[in-house]
């Protein structure tokens, strides 16, 4: 009995010291890590809104309501320039052809046109759905309308048409699920 207590105590001292050391390390590294993560998520936002000087998360309660209604939405930010809103960005998650969902950011300018899209992560097939990473695909979203549903076509021309990647209809439609959800949310909550 006595020995058991002694052993337990020794092990307790070990874990307590280990905990203390880890707490110190965490104290030192966690602000740096938080800074890096914030920068990483701002980097893709900054690509979509190059003129913005700050990004603000939208009101938590509103985001909760939006998420309840539109399943693909996971985050929403307001892009600011000198304190004025110049647009909104929506991070969405929708299923494509790959195992993990397509996570993308859709940026919408205050004038109601699309500023563009950026991909955060996906697992679409290389050579097929993966082509959505390329600028020639992403660029077809720029300047498109938010008024009506966007549809994928092989050679987009009108203001609600974006590029359909040949042979990857499911991937093309998958990313559009997210973009269209972002578009609806914008129209419903943020357009004037």
């Amino acid at each position: 009995m006595k020995e058991t207590i002694k052993l337990g105590l020794v092990l307790f001292i070990f874990t307590a010291i280990a905990g203390g050391v880890l707490a110190l390390t965490n104290d030192f590294t966690s602000p740096i890590i938080a800074e890096i993560e914030k920068e990483a998520s701002f980097n893709s936002l900054a690509k979509l809104f190059p003129e913005a000087d700050d990004f603000k998360e939208i009101d938590e309660e509103l985001l909760g309501n939006i998420k309840g209604k539109y399943a693909p939405i996971i985050e929403a930010h307001e892009a600011l320039k000198g304190g004025e809103t110049i647009g909104y960005s929506f991070k969405t998650e929708s299923s494509g052809y790959g195992d993990s969902p397509i996570v993308a950011i859709t940026a919408i300018k205050s004038d109601g046109t699309l500023a563009g899209i950026e991909l955060v992560s996906h697992s679409e097939t290389p050579g097929f759905g993966k082509q959505m990473e390329e600028d020639k695909f992403k660029d077809t979203f720029k300047g498109k309308t938010t008024e009506t549903e966007l549809i994928p076509v092989e050679s987009p021309s009108s203001e609600n048409e974006v590029m359909l990647i040949t042979g990857s209809t499911i991937s093309s439609k998958g990313i559009l699920t997210g973009v269209n959800a972002a578009r609806e949310v914008y129209r419903e909550n943020f357009s004037n």
Binding site: K6, L11, F14, A18, T25, T29, I33
Partner: protein, 207 residues
């Protein structure tokens, strides 16, 4: 025990990967690029040396009956420290190694060295043993990654500023070598070649 012997054991005779075949899970996973393998090797070396030093320092304090949990606490502490530091100062590498950094805790190389060496030897020599075993691990994973990256991706040192397209731009990579099956095949061949070399050198020593 002499230093040269310790290093000879760690890198050649008792090489943790190529001879003892321990800790293979991470070996197979991180050797798709040389950069990943080298970063993983550095993390393993850091943890091995630190845990060996601390275990050796505390070898008279740790009661024999609870030595294994004590070792695990020490190892897990260092792994977590390495993980936090990597996350803060080498984010891209941390992301490409992912889960395999925390999994160093259960890499049997480290627990085995604590149990069979550091718990019985003085501090300096234990640190050297950690370094030698870590180098043995490093040599093996970098060699493996070198072969897999060259054949499987046609590049070397991808992810650094010194990327080389080994066979020129037109090379069609054999993707299997980047996958797990390729890892097993290359590792098998490496182990065979390594055993053969060691056997020959031993025969030579006898004659």
């Amino acid at each position: 025990m002499k230093l040269t012997e310790i290093f000879k054991n760690g890198i050649l005779k008792d090489n943790p990967v190529l001879v003892q075949l321990v800790g293979l899970c991470s070996v197979l996973a991180v050797t798709n690029t040389v950069l990943n393998a080298a970063s993983m090797a550095l993390a393993v070396i850091a943890v091995l040396v630190c845990s060996n030093v601390v275990v050796s320092l505390l070898r008279k304090v740790i009661p024999k009956k609870i030595r294994i949990p004590a070792f695990i606490v020490i190892i897990a502490t260092f792994v977590t420290i390495v993980e936090m530091l990597m996350k803060a100062f080498a984010q891209p590498i941390y992301q490409s190694l992912g889960i395999f950094i925390p999994l160093i805790v259960v890499n049997c190389v480290i627990l085995a060295r604590a149990e069979s060496f550091a718990y019985k030897n003085k501090v300096f020599i234990s640190a050297m043993d950690g370094l030698a075993m870590g180098l043995g691990y490093g040599v093996a994973v970098i060699l493996l990654a070198f072969i897999r990256e060259t054949i499987g991706a046609g590049t070397l040192f991808a992810g650094t500023d010194f990327v080389i397209n080994v066979f020129g731009k037109g090379y069609q990579p054999i993707a299997m070598f980047v996958g797990p099956s390729g890892a097993f095949i290359v590792l098998g061949i490496l182990v065979a070649v390594f055993k053969n070399i060691i056997k020959k050198s031993e025969e030579k020593a006898i004659n």
